[in-house]
Amino acid sequence: MTTTIDLAALFRRMTGDEKHEWAAASTLDVLWVLYDRVLDIDPATADHPDRDRFLLSKGHGPMAYYAILAAKGFLDPAVLDDWTTFASPLGQHPDRNLIPGVEIGSGSLGHGLALATGTALGLRAQNRAKPRVFVLVGDGELDEGSNHEAIALASRLNLTSLTAIAVDNGSASHGWPGGIASRFTVEGWHATTVDGRDHDALHAALTARHDRPNAVVATIREA
């Protein structure tokens, strides 16, 4: 991607060295595809009621998120230099009250899917058909039972505007036999499993519209 070098430079403002941690971030590619090609949101529309919503449920390891927010103009890149310091708005877990364009504060796992479900319900109740709601969870995060309350509920309430992205880097201690997608499809979601580094495949899966809530399992398997 043409922005690779830019993101690498933004990452280095946080990591402070020449390490290639940025490339290893499991969420990097899906976040980039979302912000570059899918979400209808920019700094000028960050508070517009008809903006698309992106909720980062897996708030741990937010460097890729911050780098992309900076690349897209939500954050002054200079803010990255002193992240996690007392006066910085950027911590190891993001806080929506401190960062423009961040829809939720997260960190404790298993909160985003229900918040996204409520967001989609709130938009529907206000007859706002345009915005889509995306929420990113991790495969380890799916261990939390709260996700499964929300997965079942979102389908029962027919929230077709909702897309859940499950980044699967194999971090769940006890795994997901049969695959993560089946956890969604058994509850009535549409689900697609794609290579989490393949931008075109991610784009196709994220922009497809279905008459059911949509799950995109983005598989990351590094050597």
């Binding site: 009621p49 806080d95 929506r96 009250n97 829809e103 939720i104 504060g105 404790s108 298993g110 909160h111 899917l113 229900a114 918040l115 996204a116 479900t117 409520g118 967001t119 989609a120 319900l121 709130g122 938009l123 529907r124 109740a125 206000q126 706002r128 039972g145 709260s146 309350e149 929300a150 079942a152 509920l153 029962r156 309430l157």
Partner: protein, 291 residues
């Protein structure tokens, strides 16, 4: 109180497009007529209390005003982290409305008792806590809660006092005396009045405990206070201490015992006696306190 709550909120839904209701099966049937009129704003999530609060947080993020309702332990205790994070940390508002009090119907046992609710919410900033003692107070407290943006907890109970008092947020002077102040919270008032009949004490009544009316307590004129709360004993002790932080004072805090799990069913009145919250128990405590 629950019927007043259901009627008031059902009516408000017809007039305020910002209002939404979220239940987790409990009382869902009571909101059925409202749900038929407003299917997108009266939501029953099934027996999913974590999702109930999370959904409320999401609704609030889109600008709606969620009213969330269940039995005390399933509203406050089971999804407590959702209350802390999906409402508080996001800095969005909601109106949480519980029924069941601490032990309104003890035949259901410990699982359906919630005496720690107000103490738990006290660990979080920004919550207004109402503990009405009469259905008319519920009707008086709800409009401001429904039209606000803040975080409000309304603790409903099947226990009620015989008379309603104006729900001003301030403490009401019910009786005046010289020896001490007895502060009765919500449904405790009738027992307190029976217990203190003939005693030379001031009786204050509170249907709102957060924010705590420090000035009202101070204005009663006694640095000796008996606090009678229908939930965990001493839940508001720190607030009494704040009210008297520059003078010597005494406090006797009555409420649901912290030192024992009462493994018994029976009636609420029988449990009152175990906790010293019946009129005899309160009278004994107040007499000892002013002796």
């Amino acid at each position: 109180m629950r019927q007043t709550f259901v009627d008031t909120v059902s009516d408000a839904l017809d007039h305020d497009p910002r209002l939404a209701v979220v239940t987790a099966d409990i009382s869902a049937a009571a909101f059925k007529p409202a749900r038929e009129r407003h299917p997108d704003r009266v939501l029953n999530v099934g027996i999913r209390e974590q999702a109930m609060i999370g959904v409320a947080g999401g609704l609030a993020l889109t600008g709606l005003r969620p009213v969330v309702h269940s039995y005390t332990p399933f509203l406050v205790e089971r999804p407590f982290e959702q209350i802390k994070l999906d409402l508080g940390h996001q800095d969005v508002g909601a109106v949480l409305v519980s029924i069941g009090g601490s032990y309104d119907d003890p035949v259901w046992g410990r699982t359906h008792q919630g005496p720690g609710d107000v103490a738990l919410l006290d660990t979080l900033p920004g919550w207004t806590v109402h503990v009405p003692g009469h259905p008319d107070e519920v009707a008086a407290l709800l409009p401001a809660a429904l039209t606000g943006d803040d975080r409000v907890y309304l603790r409903l109970s099947a226990r009620e006092n015989s008379h309603a008092y104006p729900a001003t947020g301030r403490f009401t002077v019910v009786r005046e005396g010289a020896r001490a102040t007895v502060l009765a919270v919500g449904p405790m008032l009738d027992n307190v009045l029976a217990a203190t009949a003939g005693l030379d004490v001031t009786v204050l009544y509170a249907s709102t405990v957060r924010p705590f009316d420090h000035r009202g307590l101070r204005a009663a004129g006694h640095p000796d206070v008996v606090l009678v709360e229908p939930y965990l004993a001493g839940t508001s002790a720190h607030e009494v201490a704040n009210a008297f932080d520059d003078v010597a004072h005494r406090l006797r805090a009555l409420g649901v015992r912290r030192d024992v799990e009462v493994r018994a069913y029976g009636t609420a009145e029988e449990h009152d006696a175990v906790h010293g919250l019946d009129a005899d128990g309160i009278a004994k405590a107040v007499r000892e306190f002013i002796r």
